[in-house]
Symmetry: C2
Subunit: 445 residues, 2 copies
């Protein structure tokens, strides 16, 4: 979502630039390492799903201030000519370790570590948190929905109430990573190749005034793609009309794909509608439901034996309504040779350059994670952070969205069911290595 015409180097908190100016004037040029991690589990969460690395790496790889950015900074009167001259040619020259998109991770585990001259590393803070926290938050929320749906298909319907344009696109991408099968967001289809889905709203039915005529008109327009919205007046009566249209379509060699419920008691209505369809010989016409669903409502309706084949999941998922922000931080953990720990009340971080190691059993199921120092080796454990950028250059092509999606699928399958409950009751074990623990003792604030 970053166009060449629209640059986002200034999409940053002013203090990143004032600090940078002061580092510059104080000749602070040593390499610094910053670490990106989540400080605690929000409501009900017990795991996270990584997303957003691609957007961040593209940003870093192309980082430079435009002429108009520099002219604006000059107009603020805050910055010296020397510093502005420095910004003019500044590029990112450092290294980045990152957790692949689609990986499952846990509290305190770094998902990104940036090492670069302190100005270059500092100045990325606002953007990296903005992009990674939204996408990981939504991928996590979507994973919870997918798990709750126990095999039913989920479609992202959240665009209208996602928090802005960029969020709408990132939500579509993040939900697809986590196993949603499609999105209603057409631009996400165009940009990311995600399958798109959708048929009609109530306004369509209302504009005809006659429900069955509206159904017939739609079936004529889209004989291969018809899902009829049946709750504009009375859902069960709507189902009967849909059944008639389904039978008419069958006579012409077409097939009604499904009906959609969008209001009322989803469990009861889905059962009633299933009966109507079955009695009309339309056993393979599916029931779609789309009324305020999130992981909790999906789980509840399925537990009540709702007859729903696919869910349109909208607003509450798209803004992660029960946990609409993650406490993600990007903290200085090393400057020059000095490991650094922040000590402010309630905001401690782990000093030093780190690596996350994961132990799995012989079937690949996750056993525990160990946060260690960057360069140690831990027996029978696999390092998760990969070098993705060196000397300011990307070290590899981005994986495709399908590859990321597949990585998530395998990863999530390897996480024990007990860590996937919606109340987050069981916490996956994450330890510190002996070396990392020892390093904390020597770290300064």
């Amino acid at each position: 979502m970053i166009s060449p015409a629209e640059r986002f180097e200034l999409l940053t908190d002013l203090y990143e630039l004032t600090m940078a100016a002061s580092y510059f004037e104080n000749s602070m040029v040593e390499p610094a390492t910053f670490s990106l991690f989540i400080r605690n589990y929000p409501h009900g969460r017990s795991y996270f799903v990584a997303a957003g690395l691609e957007q961040f790496l593209d940003y870093v790889a192309n980082f430079h201030f435009s002429e108009s950015d520099l002219a604006y900074l000059d107009r603020t009167g805050l910055f010296s000519d020397d510093f502005l001259e420095y910004l003019k040619t500044m590029r990112f020259t450092g290294s980045i370790y990152g957790l692949a998109e689609g990986e499952v991770f846990f509290v305190d585990e770094p998902i990104l570590e940036v090492t670069a001259p302190i100005i270059e590393a500092q100045i990325l803070e606002t953007f990296v948190i903005n992009t990674a926290s939204l996408q990981s938050m939504i991928a996590t929320k979507a994973a919870r929905c997918v798990h709750a749906a126990r095999g039913r298909r989920l479609v992202d319907f959240s665009l209208r109430r996602s928090q802005g344009i960029d969020a709408g696109l990132k939500v579509a991408r993040s939900t697809y990573i986590a196993g949603f099968v499609a999105t209603s967001n057409v631009l996400a289809g165009k940009l990311y190749g995600i399958p798109i889905s959708g048929t009609m709203a109530h306004s369509y039915i209302s504009s005809f005034g006659d429900e069955i005529e509206a159904f017939r008109a739609f079936a004529r327009s889209f004989p291969k793609k018809t899902i009829l919205l049946i709750d504009t007046y009375d859902t069960v009566a709507g189902a009967r009309k849909a059944a008639i249209v389904g039978q008419e379509m069958a006579k012409e060699g077409h097939k009604l794909l499904g009906v959609r419920l969008d209001s009322g008691d989803m469990t009861l209505l889905s059962q009633q509608v299933r009966n109507v369809l079955d009695e009309a010989g339309l056993r393979d016409v599916e029931i779609f439901a789309s009324s305020g669903f999130d992981e909790y409502k999906i789980a509840r309706t399925l537990k009540e034996d709702a007859r729903i084949d696919a869910f349109g999941v909208g607003t509450k998922m798209g803004v992660s309504a029960d946990a609409p922000y993650f406490d993600m931080a990007y903290k200085l953990v090393q400057y020059g040779e000095r490991p650094i720990m922040k000590l402010s009340t309630g905001k401690v971080n782990l000093a030093g350059e780190k690596q996350v190691f994961r132990k799995t059993d012989h079937q690949g199921q996750f056993l525990e994670d160990i946060i260690g120092t960057r360069n140690e080796t831990i027996e029978a454990a696999c390092p998760l952070l990969e070098p993705v950028m060196q000397d300011g250059k990307l070290l590899r092509k981005h994986p495709s969205l399908e590859e990321i999606r597949e990585r998530f699928r395998k990863n999530f399958a390897a996480l024990d069911e007990k860590y996937k409950t919606l109340d987050g009751a069981h916490l996956y074990p994450v330890k510190l290595s002996a070396r990392l623990s020892a390093l904390q003792e020597t770290a300064s604030g």
Copy 2:
């Protein structure tokens, strides 16, 4: 935030396009009116603040599908050549009535009514809800914060955890409308002319290792703009060091502007820090605070006699955490000559083209609102919806952001205090006119 290079006509739910195709094939060309409104008060709210009209009107005025959009739609295999040919030259040719940005409004009141051939009006649905609901939600949240702060200055610090790039910019703009004095978001400063604010993070202090040396270095770099972050190690000890630096700055003819608290007990620490500063003769050095503030925490700390002069308001405001979405809907209310009401469970809307009338007392204080039909006149009441677009052309220049901000200030002052409580206990009276009530009786579903 809409660049010429990046078009958002496809930032829409697929069903807007499938419905449009079916309207097209069924020769449904009569004018339709859609109405944008909020269905209910989210948690604690009892008023809303309108924002987002400018972004929507710019979108509509420039609406057209690009070649690459049409090529993508063609590749989906869903649409006929005739319909794609129609989309190619489609522009918005209709009329729009809108509530000015910065106006206060209430549940059920239309803030926008779009009248156009049904395809043109339908196809705007997803975008208008996306843009107007986010901006009105944040302007409303920000107004609550401003009211709770009772005159203290508020700065938007939310960028890092706002839900994406677009949200970060819209939050900065919406909070400024509602009376925030500045933002940390540099790009919002560049694009909208909003004052920008910020000085340093903990990483700055940590990178020096010695707190007072970090303070001195910053004061050298920004002698006219220094606000020192004093909680990296121990807040009160940090305040003592800041006081020393403040005295040093005074000797050199400069002035320490303030100190910032970012963790711990805000009330107690602010009182202790105030004492430290006062005893050092630094009575005019201000105390800034920025630790998880929203309207509730602002109100609570001020009630406890916190000595805070200005608040950095971040995450919880920037995502409207206690109400992260508004139930805003865009509903068909008239097609041709036929007023239309939607009857689905719990989702009734008011049929017909409407106007919102506001009665005020002789001092301009709001008395009550009346939702009426578009063309009636209500004695001693002022119509709020203004014609903003006709035949697809904008009828006026957009007001400046400062004008919008001033409109909000006046508007909000005219709303009685009892409707501004944080628990939303008192609801402002909104009635239907006799004519609009009568119309509902005749409306069809």
